[in-house]
Symmetry: C2
Subunit: 469 residues, 2 copies
């Protein structure tokens, strides 16, 4: 008597079981190669995807292995798990491809205090920046030089010696594009230690790269330089940065104590995880969907980039559920080590297995599992114009349209082989609330927004697999 | 030494202070009427809006008055508060316009239990539907008839007598458009009691209108019919609905007990709150921006529709901050009682003050304070085509584009006067997670997403005020 048992009971089933169940009823008309009905395909992908919301359940499993920093046991567990998921979902040619990754260990939680004549001693929330050397075992204390830019640091070089240099330039909130605001502020985190060490600084503290005012430090990558001393570097929460700024205005002699015992260990071997739906007609021509499996160690990397990995897996599953057998190969790749040097992407493109393969297009989802707005297609103008004939299909599954350009760190190296690089462009307004911080957890991902990305990726992959590019 | 003190210190200032501060530095070139530079206007609205994020602070004040159900003391407090905010922000012609509203009182929290031979007695999370009659003081107990549609109810009419009819048709998750999915399921809540009473049912329980599986009941409006008995009606959380469904499959004799002591009181007088930036050239020609001030009583109505009210207020403030003096009047209206009959919108359109006024366009924001995707413009095709020349401006402030059609419950009655009805179309994927439930609180609103709506509304209002429509 209940007309919609599927909608209701489905939530208790695993994605693999759903796939079995779904295949029995798969709509076969899409697969009649002579008369592809892509509008019907798009509708079925949308309805099936949104009904089952399998991407979220896959993401829940990926984030269950804990933080997945490249080189960590969590990353190794995620390699094992995503390989198993590919097996459960019936992917073909499942294998691991080795890549060497750094092995940096954060150690016990960092501690910091602001000591001023006014406030006494107040805790600051900090986190070592990825790749930093540790402080001395007993920590370090110093007066603080606050600057906003490297130019300002240079102008005040004589004040830097023996100090902690505090880079406090916020992400520009007036910038509509939060990625661009991030890019304009990230130099402080990436290069700050080198610039400060040049002038004899003892350590650096960097304002966390988020527009939210909260007490979560955001980590990320940094660089050292062979010509300057390696000094410890940490990010301070935006609330901590405000407190420090205000305190220094009143009490320029205020000191900061900080202590963290991170360690750079010898590199270790890890893996990209690869699986596919092998093409029936041109198996050597490949459409790649990917995300990166590693994440920063302060959280579970739900948006960055568990979401992209789950979407790539779920997109192939969704096509399989509908009984589709693509002419060209559609491959999912979980890249290892985007965050700490991008070795996974480099090694994937250079692997011996690539000879004899032609990657027509690669699409990376690494802008978080938020509402997808557009698909960025890295075609030259003329070819892009032709590709626009598919735009109504993408609109029908919730995208606002297509746009030119696209790509990602991991698929970038394939560009040299003539692969068309593409990316899923999402609503970026909330991304840096969680990015590289303890807040990047499953609960901040919305199942429907996430799924809409999967659906668009599946549609893209199947279209290119059938029609070429 | 600090190049961006504004960005940092601004957070501590009130919006009214910011307005004063901002006006001193207002860009004046936009206001040179002979050469309007709308691209520059759009950029300044964007940068100022996102830097100050005043909308969120206004929303925080609106939601601080507690629930604002029409007729309640919270609604009266919100009328007083938003009038004060208009005064602080220096709006002109601030006044209240009376409207009679129903006065329904929920009473103490509803209680319900599911009693089955298997589970014993288990609590269910329910909330009376707005306008429902109460249960008897001691509650009521009955066996349950579960149906999905009125057709199914009719077919099983002989089973309904003396029972609680349980309408359990979920919102269809496969529907991309959650508003459409809501519309397709809302008949159960609005009309369910009438349909069930027709066949002698004792009461109705309705599955909450959300796609989330959680324990929050969602309320809303319902109707009675003069020809059928008025039976009590409540919504049950989706988790409760699942439990009830599964229990009834095993134990068709299971009973539900429910008790709620809501009361319909005599109608009371309330008000729409009106303020404006009076036009310099054609003050009687009006561009209206509005939202509804009332909300359901289970929460603070942050998205529905505190967001729309805060955006209308902040849009006028933003224009004022930039020193703009529009040719035509730009008016903000906080409509009262959208949720319980729409009397505020009806009375606004019919008020004596409307004679001599011509409302060119009215834009209602009532789709939640989520990422704005499009502005819906209710122009006929030809005029809409002409209006599209402004689309690049709207894209420059973050919209994905314009679309045809638009409107809202409160501005609807203005349509008969030839007013062009418009609406802000937001990402709807998360709306029904919170809609009409205890979850619709400030913390679920993102300051930047909210502000982008304000910016688009301000741009729209100023363009029409300068150029006509």
């Amino acid at each position: 008597m209940h007309p919609q048992p599927r909608l209701r009971n489905i939530l208790g089933l695993s994605c693999a079981l759903l796939l079995l169940f779904g295949s029995l009823f798969a709509a076969s008309d899409i697969n009649k190669k002579n008369t592809p009905d892509y509008r019907s395909l798009a509708r079925q992908l949308l309805e099936r995807g949104l009904s089952e919301q399998c991407t979220y359940r896959i993401l829940a499993r990926i984030t269950s292995t804990g933080p997945r920093l490249a080189g960590s046991s969590g990353a190794a567990a995620a390699v094992k798990l995503t390989r198993e998921i590919m097996q459960e979902l019936g992917f073909e040619a499942i294998h691991l491809e080795p890549t060497e990754v750094p092995h940096w260990v954060r150690g016990p939680e960092a501690r910091a205090r602001l000591v001023s004549s006014q406030l006494g001693s107040t805790p600051l929330s900090i986190a070592a920046i990825g790749g930093s050397v540790p402080t001395p075992d007993s920590g370090l204390s110093a007066r603080v030089l606050e600057v906003d830019t490297f130019a300002e640091l240079k102008a005040r070089a004589d004040e830097a010696r023996g100090r902690i240099v505090f880079f406090n330039r916020p992400m520009d909130p007036s910038n509509l594009d939060t990625f661009s605001a991030y890019g304009a502020a990230a130099d402080q985190r990436v290069q700050g230690a080198v610039e400060a060490a040049r002038f004899g600084a003892k350590a650096v503290l960097v304002r966390s790269l988020t527009m939210r005012l909260d007490d979560y430090p955001h980590t990320g990558m940094m660089r050292y330089d062979p010509n300057t001393p390696r000094i410890p570097a940490a990010c301070v929460s935006t609330k901590g940065a405000e407190l420090l700024h205000n305190t220094l205005e009143q009490d320029p002699g205020a000191q900061v104590f900080m202590s963290f015992q991170c360690r750079q260990m010898p590199p270790v071997m890890s893996d990209n995880v690869v699986g596919q739906l092998t093409g029936t007609d041109k198996p050597q021509e490949i459409i790649l969907l990917g995300g990166h499996l590693d994440c920063w160690d302060l959280s579970h990397g739900a948006h960055d980039d568990g979401a992209g990995c789950a979407q790539a897996l779920a997109a192939l599953r969704l096509l399989k559920t509908l009984g589709l057998t693509p002419k060209r190969t559609i491959r999912a790749v979980m890249f290892m080590n985007e965050e700490f040097g991008g070795t996974g992407g480099i090694d994937y493109a250079a692997a011996p297995k690539r000879s004899g393969e032609k990657h027509l297009a690669a699409l990376e989802s690494d802008w978080g599992g938020f509402l997808p707005l557009r698909l960025g297609i890295g075609l030259p103008p003329k070819e892009y114009e032709r590709f626009l004939r598919w735009e109504p299909l993408f609109r029908s599954v919730g995208l606002q349209g297509l746009s030119r350009g696209g790509g990602g760190v991991d698929i970038g190296p394939l560009g040299a082989q003539g692969t068309i690089l593409c990316g899923l462009i999402t609503d970026s307004q909330r991304y840096f609330d969680v990015h590289h911080s303890a807040k990047d957890v499953l609960e901040t991902v919305h199942p429907r927004e996430l799924e809409l990305g999967t659906i668009a990726m599946a549609l893209f992959a199947y279209l290119v697999a059938e029609e070429g590019i």
